[in-house]
Amino acid sequence: MELTSLTIDSARSAIQERKTTAVSLAEWAYRKIESDDPTIGAFITLSKERALAKAAEIDEMAKKGEKLAPLAGVPFGIKDVMVTRGVRTTAGSKILGNYLPPYDCTAVARLETAGAVVLGKMNCDEFAMGSSNENSAWKPVRNPRDISRVPGGSSGGSAAAVAADMALATLGSDTGGSIRQPASFCGVVGLKPTYGRVSRYGLIAFASSLDHIGPLTKTVKDAAIVLRTIAGQDPMDSTSVGPAVPDYVADLEKPVRGLKIGVAKEYFGEGLDREVRAALEAAIQKLAELGCEVVEISLPHTKYAVPTYYIVATAEASSNLARFDGVRYGHRASAARTLSEMYRRTRDEGFGAEVKRRIMLGTYVLSAGYYDAYYLKAQKVRTLLTRDFDQAFQRVDAIVTPTSPTAAFKLGEKVDDPLAMYLADIYTVTANLAGIPGISIPCGKTSEKLPIGMQLLGKHFDEATILRLAHAYELAEVQN
């Protein structure tokens, strides 16, 4: 059986019903990786031994007729910013080139408990810093829909692998759009849950108050299945909080008629590609046809989101990345004569240009004399942005926006213009700053056959509503 035709549910059922085996699915995936990944570059490290052992375990259970767990035998990819016990985890950086973590990320452990087969670690921008995957220290990722184009970032490998059928689903991380934007560029589903919904334990931190783990999948239902598996409080993460985890999968079938959908003019302004706008307008029309009420809203502080984001994110990053000092693990510069030389050379050799840029920015905004003007001010604006959403959500159940102002751009197109690159996150960073859930689903293609993504934003801990809307839209599109 080929991954091409499968979803999480159908794969599990096929294994349960012994129409195929978990081992053969994993082997199929590895063959696909072997043939296609030299071009795409989605994987950094393969964990064949671990994957095949897990797959064999699942097959043994299926053989005995035991009821399989929801992700049993599903070939998964894990973004390389999530630690995996004994499997090299680099965060896309040379500074962790040979790092073997001694423990598993909670989300990964939960996937495996639910039967997932972890094929390997997905390429990404170094420390998840980037919007094109060109900041990976190892290799760029190419967009399977058009290999001259980027897959988006930073979870570029995670999105590309699903799009190219090298994995049935992957985990990505999203600090400013890093799940949703590549999902949109590669034409797959990408979900960033509410802050606190999924444990961050074992996620190599970029910006702790903005980092989220979430799934990239082929369908909305698959995203709901994965979220149901990885969500919920974790005693190892103090910020994993919130109400009990609902059954996102069962909730998909609830009607969407009568739901109020907000459309904010701030997300349809200057810089939005004409074709993306047209696709979004059509999608909004479709949602209206499904019985949703479309309401015009305003999120007035949106224009401050990108600068606010780049202050908060870099500030936290400058601190989070201090531990990569060559003392305990990872790369250490050889032949340094003094401690400070060891620090400087280790970090100079180990970090790439974008990471260094962000460490410097973050160090600057936290420095004595600048803290109030930058970091403190940014935190205040963050509060205002969150309030914008709180007010909007008193009137609407979800907000619809483009995921990215453009479809996938060409490799090399923006590498020399960091500011242009930062603006690729303009529609996604707000959800990270406010901590609200967001999902990107495909909503048509450009004339060049490049996927376009629609973003649905929801209330805190209300992933169920945006999943339900996305699911209804997806079904309607399929029926077309």
């Binding site: 985890t89 910006a207 601190s319 305990r328 160090t363 936290l366």
Partner: protein
């Protein structure tokens, strides 16, 4: 111009010192502040570690509930207001024994503020303000010696990394090295009473840094301060401050200026040395720790914690002086530790006459201990032993003289009073009153005028007769019995 010593002394007297102390106290939690690793001291290097306290990628801190309780308890004992909400913050700096490149501490919203303790000063007490008490994690240890390659390498032991600390910052209310010393003694005593730390300086569970400046007497503004670090005993703090104050006065007197800097104390030389100047000072880039939620200690929880607050040494001393009629000094000695004070009070309360127990401690025990040069904690006679001896005297079984002899034997044999009492065959003072009656008769006969006075109603004269009889019996007589016999004979 050459300054003569006299003018120098006079000149120096024009200055006063301003001192503030920062004390780090390690909390006695079984596990570290943000992970479940053991805090045991002395385990092999890097064995009490996990991804969290090693600062491995992806690991996150989870706050230890007990550490919060202990910190709040200490803060309450120091009369601080515990904040309902406090915030953890990251203090960023690079150091090899700081695994994350930042220390999780508290900054602008600490656990507790606005406290004070009293220290004894000439002719009374002085209040020293406590600015704040906050929670933080300890760093690991850099080991610069003890290994084959120690000449050119430093080893790191991260067993201590993540151990729970509180930092107690005083107001600049301390005016002399002596006051600083007293403050530390009192502070340590209070913390020990709460039981949240063992305050063991050798093992580093109590550490102190001092901020010190001098200014012209009467001047309102503070002078430029220096910070003295690396001082590992209270005595050294006093010495370091004495040196540093004199050094600063000397600099000012010779027309110089104090440089704001961190100085290390070298206890062998009794001098402080520059470690780093203000220009080299770290910019710690504090910001709220995003991995931890704000720490909420609401009123209900505060009340719960407050319930486990023991009676504190100062209050206890005052009560003991009132309850047992002992001196301030003896109350001080008896409250040296909470355990000792508890033993004393338990024994005193169980005894027939609590005050007699206190009196015996004061009159018989302390002197012998002092002569022997040992602390009350090493006393051969336990508080229970004192209580038994008090009861024996109280009920007239043994005399005061016999008690003294038995105490001497206890100290000589290093055995507790009950053992010695048994070994001596449970001695009793003579119950035969004939010899005593004869003595009394002789004394009454020799003092007819006083007998007359007594019979005329001036009954206080009985004290005179008791004294005479006791002296005649070389203090062997049982005073109670003497009293009885005298009353009978005088009345008859």
């Amino acid at each position: 111009m050459v300054t003569t010593p006299e003018t120098s002394v006079a000149a120096r007297a024009r200055y006063e010192a301003v001192i503030g102390l920062e004390v780090h106290v390690q909390l006695l939690t079984a596990t570290k502040i943000f992970c479940s690793c053991s805090t045991r001291f002395g385990n092999p290097p890097n064995t009490n570690v996990c991804p969290v306290c090693l600062g491995l990628p992806g690991a996150l801190p989870v706050l230890n509930r007990k550490a919060v309780e202990f910190a709040a308890l200490a803060a309450m004992a120091l009369n601080c207001q515990v904040n309902a909400t406090s915030i953890f913050a990251r203090k960023n700096y690079f150091y090899p024994d700081l695994p994350k490149g930042y220390q999780i501490s508290q900054y602008d919203k600490p656990l507790a503020e606005h406290g004070a303790i009293e220290i004894p000063v000439q002719g009374g007490a002085k209040k020293i303000g406590i600015t704040r008490v906050h929670l933080e994690e300890d760093a690991g240890k850099s080991l610069h010696e003890g290994f084959a390659d120690s000449v050119d390498t430093t080893a790191i032991d991260l067993n201590r990394s993540g151990v729970a600390l509180i930092e107690i910052v005083s107001e600049p209310d301390i005016a002399s090295p002596e006051e600083a010393y007293e403050y530390l003694i009192r502070l340590k005593e209070i913390i020990l009473y709460t039981g949240v730390s063992d305050c063991n300086m050798e093992e580093g569970s109590l550490r102190c840094d001092a901020n010190v400046s001098v200014r012209a007497r009467g001047q309102r503004e503070f002078g430029t301060k220096t910070e003295v670090k690396n001082v590992n005993s209270f005595r050294f703090i006093r010495e370091a401050l004495e040196y540093e104050i004199e050094r600063q006065k000397g600099v000012l007197e010779s027309g110089g200026q104090i440089t704001q800097e961190t100085r290390l104390y070298n206890s062998n030389e009794g001098k402080t040395y520059n470690m780093r100047s203000k220009e080299q000072a770290h910019d710690y880039r504090y910001f709220p720790e995003p991995d931890l939620l704000p720490l909420i200690i609401d009123e209900k929880r505060q009340a719960e914690i407050r319930r486990s607050l023991p009676e504190l040494p100062e209050a206890r001393r005052k009560r003991m002086v009132a309850d047992y009629g002992i001196t301030e000094y003896d109350a001080q000695v008896l409250t040296f530790s909470k355990a000792l004070a508890d033993q004393f009070e338990a024994a005193a309360k169980a005894a027939k006459n609590p005050k007699r127990v206190a009196n015996l401690v004061q009159s018989e025990l302390m002197g012998r201990l002092k002569a022997k040069g040992c602390e009350i904690e090493q006393s051969p006679i336990s508080m229970k032993g004192v209580a038994l001896s008090a009861d024996l005297v109280e009920s007239g079984v043994i005399s005061g003289k016999m008690l003294k002899d038995l105490y001497d034997l206890s100290f000589a044999r290093e055995k507790d009073f009950p053992d010695v009492y048994e070994e001596e065959g449970r001695p009793e003072q003579s119950r035969d009153t004939s010899a005593l009656e004869q003595t009394i008769d002789e004394i009454l006969a020799a003092h007819p005028r006083q007998v007359e006075q007594f019979r005329a109603g001036k009954t206080a004269v009985i004290g005179f007769f008791v004294g005479q009889v006791m002296r005649a019996s070389k203090r062997q007589a049982n005073p109670q019995l003497v009293n009885e016999l005298l009353t009978r004979k005088l009345g008859g």
